[in-house]
Symmetry: C2
Subunit: 463 residues, 2 copies
Amino acid sequence: MTRNAHPTARPSHTEGRAAARPRALTRTLLRGENGAGTVRKTVLPGGLRVVTETVPSVRSVSFGIWAHVGSRDETPSLNGATHYLEHLLFKGTSRRSALDISASLDEVGGELNAFTAKEFTCYYARVLDSDLPLAIDVICDMLTDPLLLPEEVEAERGVILEEIAMTDDDPGDVVHDLFAQTMLGDSPLGRPVLGTVETVEALTRDRIARFYRKHYDPTRLVVTAAGNLDHATVVRRVRAAFERADALSRADAVPCAPRTGDRPLNAAGRVGVLGRKTEQAHLVLGLPGVSRGDERRWALGALSTALGGGMSSRLFQEIREKRGLAYSVYSYTSGYADCGLFGIYAGCRPAQVADVLAICREQLARIAEEGLSEAELRRATGQLAGSTMLGLEDPGALMHRLGKSEICWGSQLSLDEMLSRMTAVTVEDVRQVAAEVLGRRPSVAAIGPLTQRQSDRLESAVA
Amino acid sequence: MTRNAHPTARPSHTEGRAAARPRALTRTLLRGENGAGTVRKTVLPGGLRVVTETVPSVRSVSFGIWAHVGSRDETPSLNGATHYLEHLLFKGTSRRSALDISASLDEVGGELNAFTAKEFTCYYARVLDSDLPLAIDVICDMLTDPLLLPEEVEAERGVILEEIAMTDDDPGDVVHDLFAQTMLGDSPLGRPVLGTVETVEALTRDRIARFYRKHYDPTRLVVTAAGNLDHATVVRRVRAAFERADALSRADAVPCAPRTGDRPLNAAGRVGVLGRKTEQAHLVLGLPGVSRGDERRWALGALSTALGGGMSSRLFQEIREKRGLAYSVYSYTSGYADCGLFGIYAGCRPAQVADVLAICREQLARIAEEGLSEAELRRATGQLAGSTMLGLEDPGALMHRLGKSEICWGSQLSLDEMLSRMTAVTVEDVRQVAAEVLGRRPSVAAIGPLTQRQSDRLESAVA
């Protein structure tokens, strides 16, 4: 079904020429052990990284390309450009129309998709191993040779405005954006990934094209794959695809470094409210957390799991099981390069808001003061370790971890290292991070049909 | 962490007694081939079925128990009882509190959950293979010995009312209930699985307990497991767990038969509208489809895939890619024992509703008249076959298929049979089912901020 609208005129590179080309550097980062696959990394001339993990027991492969760009790289008027661009890369290349791109993976039952986050963007496919060459060819083509045609930019603007409208109709989703904004203010990290109706309406094709050229340089891309694959073959095919687009010509270019920085967050006692005629009020109560490079993240992860990470967690037990005040309640951590957030989400009818927030604050205060018991901590670390082991069977999850690790840390942690960091967390580690993180005044974001009196009470809930 | 609140006083059955017990009948239904696992089925005395599929390449197991009961088994005043009961089975047994149940799976990183549908209910866990005995013990205990304590019934009522409120806040979800109601009227299949605020507020502990006793008889349960497992061991452990609850004493009981029936649906030109202050209007345009036993389902499945099953489908291309009128648009089929539905979902801002519906109707009319081209059909069947192959690596999906097949058909289709049914669909098969199903007048359900004029235009959109 693939139609080559504009077949390339460039001669394709053949194996015979390989010796004359700049050398790629390949290292084995992790040897497969205890059920984990072998992880290999190659840096191609041009600074393009390829990281793979072999999982010989499966017949599928997840393949992705990660771009080191997210909404935090946007100026206020560019807000939404990263996500807009992500959509546009599906809209056609010199060799493929939008329909060619989607049909090529659809017809083999593959999944082709992408997502944009605050610090990175990822394009990925999951296919049977025999279809990996196709997935590589299509995704590399999308990333290296997008046409960004003006008429496609216009049609896609409507799609993105619909996506914003759809997201806006999901208050349990919007409240997380509102919480980020409440904590981080009008800063790149505080703005929504989708942008706003105003910024998306104003973005021009030229600005988006410039954004593409700036951020989709091979030094800022990471190719990842996990599943039943051969590393050298993946590298060879990726290299051929990028060379066809003449994207690896700067032989001395080196991969960009992970983001670093330290941004102290001092938000405390802030309240963000959006009135909305919904049945439930949707709440996030939270605090500044830790950045993703912070060693305390292991202890904070265990703490979050015990507080609100499962059906046996304190919040689930106190709010849902004992009192029936909410259906959905959980806690989470978000780590960025230079800062982090710690939040509790709950959705409940307006009359329950005060009770729910009081229980959350009480549990935060108790953990800040006492930490967790040994038994509670062991349950939490067991939960994290067990779900990590279960995740080993999902090539998509492995591919995701490879990309995020390379973008965020520039290195990979082995399964054993990960499990030992998780389970090495002590009661004292938790006590310390609890006192540091949870001991402060929280802030709150709320969306719902709150009366003035109920809104006013949010202020006192975080006093 | 498991606390045995009330240790059982009954002597446990030992292996030595097995010979004296009524015999279990085991058959190998499918021999593993082409990447598919071996499927075995045992019928235990008492009429309990155990169906497993071995997937030796994974280290996990998905284990589930399916009850042959769904919301269509409810009278109007019992609406929501099946789902309420599903919640209550997590709230404690003679041997385990609610916390014991959730903590036991949480601490090994397992997933424990359940869902209620119109024709069945399923309780399941995904765990590492070494934790399978635990998952079997916990889920069998939940199903055979629930306490249904009055205070737990009351606390859970609040949780379910919150779940109804949460669902109500998701218009893209509510519109499917509204469509079912529009097509099926105030009948068991037309009512919502969750029930309504009124019915849930009125349900008593005694009525729910009677509902449990009636529908959770072992003859109406199917135990399924897929992953790295040994069939005989699963059967032995399930049998021991059910015998401990004295649930297999009627040695001559036989499994209940699948539901049958034929309910002609004549809904045509119906309009269901719910006003809601949302950003988008959420639409389902649809028709009576085919029941799940109807041989035309293979052709209708291919048709639905080509019409709205992926990014290369007609609706995605016409509505989203070319015109940017929606973010989410897709078609789907729902099959029940005696009837079925065929629907198209789209979410778009109110101003686009007329255009979106016109394109949907035009595509329905074209396919009703012309069917699909050979190339389009082959892409659709390739998509279905490929995604079926990819699904083989997911023990959860396999467990789901085992349970649904046993409940709905009382038999299992092999991978090869399934693939050959999918790919055997001809252009003529599609033309025929298209003319029969799509040639009629559709109905429409809509939720959103529609003006009176926009609502009135829905009538003409299905005229």
